[in-house]
Amino acid sequence: MDFLAPVINGFGVVLEPMNLLYCLIGVVIGMLIGVLPGLGPAATIAILLPLTYGVEPVTAIIMLSGIFYGAQYGGTITSVLLRLPGEASSVVTVFDGFALARQGRAGTALGIAAIGSFFGGTVAIIGLTLLAPIVAGFALDFGPPEYTALAMLGILLVATVSNGSKLKSIIAASLGLLLATVGRDTFTGEARFTFDNLSLADGLDFVPIAMGIFGLGEILYNLEERHNKVQAPAKVANVWPSRKDLKESSGAIGRGSLLGFFLGILPGGGATIASLAAYAMEKKRAKNPERFGRGAVEGVAAPESANNAAATSSFIPLLTLGIPANATMAIIFGALLIQGVTPGPQLVQNDPELFWGVVNSMYIGNILLLIMSIPLVGVFVKILRVRAAILAPITVLITLIGVYTINNSIFDIWLVIVFGLLGYLMKKFGFEPGPLVLAFVLGSLLEENLRRSLLVFGGDAAGFVTRPISGILLLVFVVVMLLPLLQKAFRKVRTTAPAVEARHHEKEKV
């Protein structure tokens, strides 16, 4: 029982009234900033940092981490209702979430997302409790070659997430890859496609692109549609997910949570790849993959569970290795330093109360979020009853203000407008925006890590195959690529002899 004693002590720490209060404050702030497009958890935590100077370190970190995972819950709301993904990790939620909202099932989508997020978060906390020290080493084995293989796999999955024409998806994805090359070359300092504009030196930012293409593009397209046919405001029914919805999505939630937990440990793009992979996996497993993108509940359940699990497991490298996995973790790292606590390999031994206090506060925080978000679903869904003529300009305004607040940059507002027009044109001509945005995110990950790997290998590409993890990932890549061909072959076999089991088996591998 030696192991359990500090865990139980940790609960004692969380249940102190002061800590409970700060946990509640944290998750409420987190949820609010999640709903507002633009202002992200990293900036909010940095701004609120001085407020935590006066309190105990454990209390401070409980509140700051509450902001972080609370934002993951809140971010879903705008993705589903307004098609505005605030972060790269909720881009895929848009596909089915928004489709559900248009069918008047926004409540179902939000409810499933909240339940999925809760479940994903809880799975990750249990994982954090039991496995943190063991899995932490796994993050260090991921070097540039592994990220290269992971990004390649991700880009391949992009092609499978979209419906519609494969050729058009590939064109959109290529455009995304091209956009990812804008900015100062991180290896030579060379300016690429910056047109001597300093605002472009760091490349294009994800948020203005996603908000322009999904948000503004959608609004413009709808305005045009309204001229052609009068569209009644979406009917809002079944605020609660039905038993059937829950049953349909339970598997997706479980698989998404596990995938999210493991990929979230990786520093960098963990949460984004987790949500993307979870979505692609559900689509591949589904009996009717064509339902995806037209309002499949699993299409919301899987990525939402995955990104919340990933958000929680990204604490593992910070608390056990002293490595911040993303921008928000870097700020929490700073907050710990200010409190006189050094995050590093010795944290668990030196500060067990802090470690377990923070971990256990996440159980409480997730329960608080679930309790809050279920009744609030009904409130948020009412937004859809507002007439488009009123909702559209307000959404545009919130989007533009939200984008401005990230970098305090007027340039970003122009970016939203340009990408809004691009999104509108793409939609009009039948191009899916998803592949563009996802390829953009993965493109820089691929390029940087490929070049870094080649530097490390001294130019010898054989290293990608001989390293175990990157080798396996590349094997999966090849299997996924050849899968359609294999399926075709099996289908031919099936006409003579039913080979359902074999086909099923083949899918399981992915």
Binding site: A46, P50, L198, L321, G322, L337, L455
Partner: protein, 338 residues
């Protein structure tokens, strides 16, 4: 000029949400209040904005926020912090350089942006220290060369005698981390490949995972791992030994001419009235003396370098010249973008 700013802000404010509207009209009012000419006796006329050219949470941001908090009392005006990341800080720095020289808009400067980045990027993307009125130096943030403890490499001798090729991680192209290592390995005749990462944390992660052999990162980032015995500090690149790592020799002591540190300063646009600069100097001096600020420096392992503003400008120009000379002498090329 003042008029137009005011009108534009008002329009924007009316259009936006209530909170933002309040914030911006307040701001607009202050701009109007300083007209017609910047009058030093009326300084500060409302909040003094401190612009930071980096994302929230990094060292530059933490320093800026700690200073703003402790200087606003002595100055008698709030000092809101505004983050405008982009181009290693060049974006924010250029913007403040072009702002009205009335002391109401300040910026935190990073020495590397003036002395090192120009060695890697094109002239259009660089800034010059002569275009600013440096109010005061702030602190010094030292770089340390580290190896993974499992490699057994502890001193420069270990490296030179290893007789192998090293992959070394840098925190990015045109940074002090890249310059320091490139110069050191060239002088020590060690064969190395420069592997740029996007900041200190990914570089350190790669070293901990044995993806690379060596890395040079900022002391505050490396310290927890050094204390835990996971990383070996080999040399620090400051001129004198670092107070937080007293047993680690400097590169200069080890016999290599590589003095590289990250210095930071706070500056106003060129042409800010002398009386305004003096008032700002006094306020920041009080902030430096305050207990919370001293404790902040200690926690984040910054060495105070509260040098007089004019001296800062001279030092940084001298550093820029020195780095240029060293890179030419040893044939070090930081980037092909210049």
């Amino acid at each position: 000029m003042i008029k137009t700013t005011f009108t534009r802000r008002s329009i924007l404010a009316t259009g936006s949400g209530l909170a933002l509207a309040l914030a911006l009209t307040a701001c607009g009012g202050n701009v109007a209040g300083t007209s017609p000419a910047a009058d030093a006796s009326k300084f500060p006329a409302g909040p003094v904005t401190l612009t930071i050219g980096a994302d929230p949470g990094g060292s530059t941001d933490l320093i800026g926020r700690a200073l703003a908090e402790n200087a606003s009392g002595p100055l008698g005006a709030p000092i809101p912090v505004v983050n405008k990341p982009g181009a290693n800080g060049a974006l924010a720095t250029k913007e403040v350089g072009a702002a009205k020289a009335d002391g109401q808009t300040l910026v935190i400067l990073n020495a590397s942006l003036f002395a090192i980045t120009p060695l890697a990027v094109s002239a259009g993307e660089t800034v010059k220290i002569e275009d600013y009125e440096v109010i005061t130096g702030i602190s010094q943030d030292d770089y340390v060369l580290v190896s993974n403890a499992s490699s057994g490499m502890k001193t420069m001798d270990d490296l030179t005698k290893a007789g192998k090729k090293f992959n070394f991680a840098t925190t990015g192209v045109g940074t002090g981390s890249q310059l320091a290592q490139a110069l050191l390995f060239k002088q020590a005749k060690i064969d190395g490949t420069d592997v740029p990462f996007d900041g200190g944390s990914p570089a350190m992660t790669a070293l901990l995972g044995n993806q690379v052999d060596l890395a040079t990162i900022q002391l505050a980032e490396a310290m927890p791992q050094i204390k835990a015995g996971k990383l070996n500090p080999i040399v620090v690149f400051s001129k004198e030994r670092n107070q937080y790592l007293p047993d680690t020799p400097t590169a200069v002591e080890a016999g290599y001419d590589v003095p590289v540190s990250q210095f930071r300063a706070v500056a106003a646009p060129k042409g800010t009235p002398e009386a305004v600069v003096t008032k700002l100097r006094e306020s920041f001096k009080k902030a430096f003396e305050s207990e919370p600020y001293k404790a902040f420096n200690k926690q984040n392992l910054f060495t105070p370098a509260e040098i007089d503003g004019d001296q800062v400008a001279k030092d940084w120009s001298a550093n820029a010249a020195k780095y240029k000379e060293l890179t030419t002498k040893y044939g070090v090329d930081l980037g092909s973008g210049k």
